[in-house]
């Protein structure tokens, strides 16, 4: 018993010899505290890339306390957050600038017919305007441990953006692989980064862009959709394929790649779109239960729960908007939905978690969203 008392006394006595000063942050604590999910940036420059595509150079908004932009890996994206007519929404855009220069980010946006955010970005946003964005995130890109040295990029339309970032990174020695990008566009006029591509093709030993036009024939370009014949000369014994573009491109490419026996592990996609056409055209009731509040709103069968919430002014979290990142996850308490695509842990699926960004209602819904 005395021995126990002794131990307690010893512990007290030892503590007494230590300082009573408040504990300081360690380096890791300090860095972690600086970690910001939300960044405020200003548009420094707008570049007209094609008739329907513009690049935006974003720099830190010092007045809003952002001193520097976080580093990123080529292939990552940011999410732009916007308030439009009382509704809150986000859009994910791949960074198209070099990860070697974090004094600025470049995003490149192509007009989407009836697109809510892209039209505002292209028509209304001016140099000097402030934007709210997420920090760079996402897994797409080259990974020196996972991937082979011979990398084939397959890009369609605005899907060229992450490859431009990767090409610049390779050219600057930040990444080390041989990259051949097959870039499919409708006409010569639709080529984004035309002069940059020409410059890289001329000066880089490790990067090569091969452009194919699907709607016109022109000298200096391949013609037609990317096929086996085009790829054949660039397939080595071991290859890694990175794809970014519309779903139709992935579908046709999977057939082509199948002929080269490229293993599943070597093919990686960036998901950009959610394709879904509901059979009916109904409007359901969506009850959103928040931490200290609830709201009952309308949700159409052709819009995701996320979009319905955004339209109703609910600040629902979102990042990737294609069901991958998990940032929007919520619990469905009542009702039926259809989730289109996405990648969710089995345990979450079994426990009624959903990703509202890819969920379409099939009945009235009660959703728990902890905001």
């Amino acid at each position: 018993m005395d021995k126990i008392e002794h131990l307690r006394e010893e512990r007290k006595n030892i503590a007494k010899t230590y300082s009573s000063k408040k504990i300081k942050d360690t380096y890791i604590d300090e860095v972690t505290k600086e970690y910001k999910d939300v960044l405020y940036v200003k548009v420094k420059k707008i570049i007209e890339e094609t008739n329907d595509t513009k690049s935006f150079i974003l720099v830190p908004d010092i007045e809003k306390g952002i001193k520097e932009l976080p580093p990123f890996k080529a292939g990552q994206y940011i999410s732009v957050r916007m308030f439009i007519d009382k509704s809150y929404t986000t859009r994910a855009y791949s960074l198209s600038s070099s990860p070697g220069d974090t004094s600025k980010y470049r995003i490149t946006i192509k007009r989407v017919p009836n697109g809510l955010v892209s039209n505002i970005m292209l028509d209304e946003v001016k140099v000097g305007d402030g934007l709210t964005i997420s920090r760079p995130t996402g897994d797409f890109g080259y990974n020196s441990i996972r991937d082979e040295e011979n990398v084939l990029g397959i890009a369609g339309g605005s899907g060229i953006t992450p490859f431009m970032s990767l090409a610049l990174a390779i050219n600057e020695g930040i990444e080390n692989c041989n990259l051949t990008v097959f870039y499919s566009v409708k006409t010569e006029e639709d080529i984004i980064f035309k002069s940059e591509i020409e410059h890289l093709n001329k000066h880089s030993k490790k990067v090569k862009f091969i452009i194919t036009l699907t709607r016109e024939e022109k000298k200096g370009y391949l013609n037609g959709h990317i096929d086996k014949k085009m790829l054949e000369p660039y397939i080595k014994e071991f290859n890694t394929v990175l794809m970014c573009g519309p779903k139709t491109l992935y579908k046709s490419m999977n057939e082509v790649l199948g002929e080269f026996n490229i293993p599943r592990k070597s093919v990686h996609y960036e998901n950009f779109f959610v394709d879904f056409e509901p059979n009916d055209n109904k409007t359901y009731e969506l009850k959103v239960i928040m931490k200290n509040d609830f709201k009952v709103i309308k949700c159409k069968s052709n819009e995701t729960l996320l979009v319905a919430m955004e339209n109703a002014g609910i600040k629902a979290p979102s990042l990737c908007r294609v069901g991958i990142c998990g940032y929007c996850r919520s619990v469905i308490l009542e009702g039926k939905i259809k989730m289109v695509g996405g990648n969710m842990e089995k345990a979450l699926l079994e426990n009624d978690y959903i990703h509202p960004c890819i969920s379409y209602p099939e009945s009235n819904i009660v959703l728990r969203l902890d905001i």
């Binding site: 007290k12 504990i23 890791i28 592990k265 940032y327």
Partner: protein, 490 residues
């Protein structure tokens, strides 16, 4: 509304505390900063692989015959889970020495000790007896009583011993002690820092209660716990990052980053104790800082999660755990663990134990390396990605060279966690995975004995940084034990 208890953090300790309080009809609110429960016990998906962040060795669970404390508590909580027993099935490599296998059972392990030094098996039997005696004495202490010295002489004899000294005293040779210390990384303290009491409590679990792993993913377990917690009346708010705990009045005020505030009679923190005094509580509490400054934050580390596109048999992976040590002498080995790229690590292959670990014809391999000093201090933020990759690269190469197994060409998915990742997700100070280091007068035995001395009005701690140390079992037991104290029962 004033809650009886607010729990900060839905880690293992926090949920356990929540269930025990809610079962006893208390009004409880858990505030969790992430959108999922579990803390360090979680699952993330990459491609077709689901990687568990913890639970590769769940101590004190056992099986039907060997019922561990954790299993008992979970059955009290009415949380049913499926587990698989982790077999004694490891391979160990000490630098410049031949590899050796730990295969079969603890009994067979002891037979192997006899081959190293004649008489060791006898000493191991003595050690097993001491271990039991210490466990029984400890059970009495945990019930709030004091064991009698005449009944538990060896508990008192060894109360002030460090593990390495006690093992020498029992008569083990240095070579045999090395073998007995291969598990030290699981505790996070070398044998000259670890109290012999703590060592024996650990050994008792290892010998008499079988280690287990979950049959399903970590997240499944976490959600089962939370479902149970909600069923018995507990409330949890996610995306609720506690930034301030106002301790001025009898009713404590807990504020979150998104501007909400909640009231409770008592606050239980399942986050780093150091974080609470450093950042969350403004009021100065007597002697708290001295004690904090006297303690050592546990090790942090890097974990590399690999999804391989071949089954483990064809890859030639036959063991559940692959160890590599610079030296098996833990007192010396820790000195080598103060810099990046040292040669001590553990690799786990969950598929060897659990068929459901990954999709058919694939394998998960998890490589873990631990650091005992602030090796990340000089890392500039723009070098971080490259450094992370370089560490992973060299660990993978070291694994391949050490065990002559090719894995690199089969890597389909890779994820790397660093101390920054851990701190960002869990707020653990310095990104530690162990809470406080078990060391000197800050071993679990000392924390338990001094629990009442160090109690703070209206504030308690559970989880890895509370009293029992790190690990799923310790965290859940801490939640149960401490809430029982609060509820006034033995």
């Amino acid at each position: 509304m004033v809650y009886d208890y607010i729990i900060v953090g839905a880690g293992m300790g926090g949920i356990s505390a929540g269930i025990n309080l809610a079962i006893n009809n208390k009004k409880v609110l858990i505030l969790e900063k992430n959108s999922l429960p579990g803390g360090l016990v979680s699952t993330f998906k990459k491609g077709r692989f689901e990687f568990d962040t913890s639970g590769y060795d769940i101590y004190n669970y056992g099986d039907k015959e060997h019922i561990g404390e954790l299993q008992k508590i979970l059955s009290k909580y009415k949380v049913n889970i499926e587990t698989d027993i982790v077999p004694f099935n490891y391979i160990v490599k000490e630098e410049k020495k031949d590899t050796f296998k730990v295969k079969g059972s603890f009994e067979e392990f002891i037979v192997d000790l006899e081959d190293i030094k004649f008489g060791s098996a006898m000493q191991a039997t003595t050690l097993a007896k001491i271990t039991k005696e210490i466990r029984w004495a400890m059970d009495i202490i945990l019930k709030g009583d004091i064991p009698k010295e005449e009944d538990y002489p060896r508990f008192y004899k060894y109360l002030d011993y460090m593990a390495s000294d006690a093992l020498l005293e029992i008569g083990f040779s240095k070579e045999v002690i090395k073998r007995l210390s291969i598990w030290w990384l699981d505790v996070g303290s070398p044998l000259n820092k670890l109290s012999f009491i703590d060592f024996c409590l650990f050994l008792e679990k290892l010998i008499f209660k079988k280690n287990a792993i979950f049959d399903t993913k970590n997240l499944d377990f976490c959600l089962k716990l939370i479902k149970r917690y909600q069923k018995v009346g507990g409330k949890i708010n996610y995306n609720s990052w506690v930034v301030n705990i106002d301790m001025e009045d009898n009713i404590k005020l807990v504020e979150t980053k998104d501007g909400h505030s909640y009231k409770a009679k008592h606050v239980i923190c399942d986050v780093s104790r150091r974080l609470v005094f450093k950042d969350l509580i403004k009021k100065e509490i007597k002697d708290v800082n001295r004690l904090e400054n006297a303690r050592t934050i546990g090790a942090n580390g890097v974990v590399i999660y690999l999804g391989l596109n071949k089954n483990y048999q064809d890859l030639g992976l036959e063991y559940y755990k692959y160890y590599k040590f610079t030296t098996l002498d833990s007192t010396n080995n820790i000195k080598y663990m103060n810099s990046l790229g040292h040669n001590t690590w553990i690799a786990y292959v969950p598929n060897v134990v659990n068929n459901n670990a990954s999709p058919k014809n694939t394998t998960i391999l998890v490589l873990k390396q631990i650091y005992f000093s602030d090796v990340f201090n000089n890392v500039a933020i723009n070098e971080y990605e490259k450094l992370k990759n370089d560490i992973a690269d060299s660990l993978i190469s070291d694994f391949e060279e050490t065990y002559k197994i090719d894995i690199r060409e089969y890597i389909e998915e890779i994820a790397i966690s660093t101390p920054f990742t851990v701190e960002r997700l869990t707020s653990n100070v310095n990104g530690t995975m162990y809470g406080y280091m078990l060391k000197g007068y800050d071993n679990a035995i000392h924390r338990i004995l001094s629990y009442e001395d160090e109690e703070i009005e209206g504030l308690s701690f559970v989880g890895a940084s509370s009293i029992f140390g790190s690990g799923i079992d310790n965290a859940i037991i801490s939640g149960f034990y401490i809430t029982n104290k609060l509820l006034g029962r033995k």
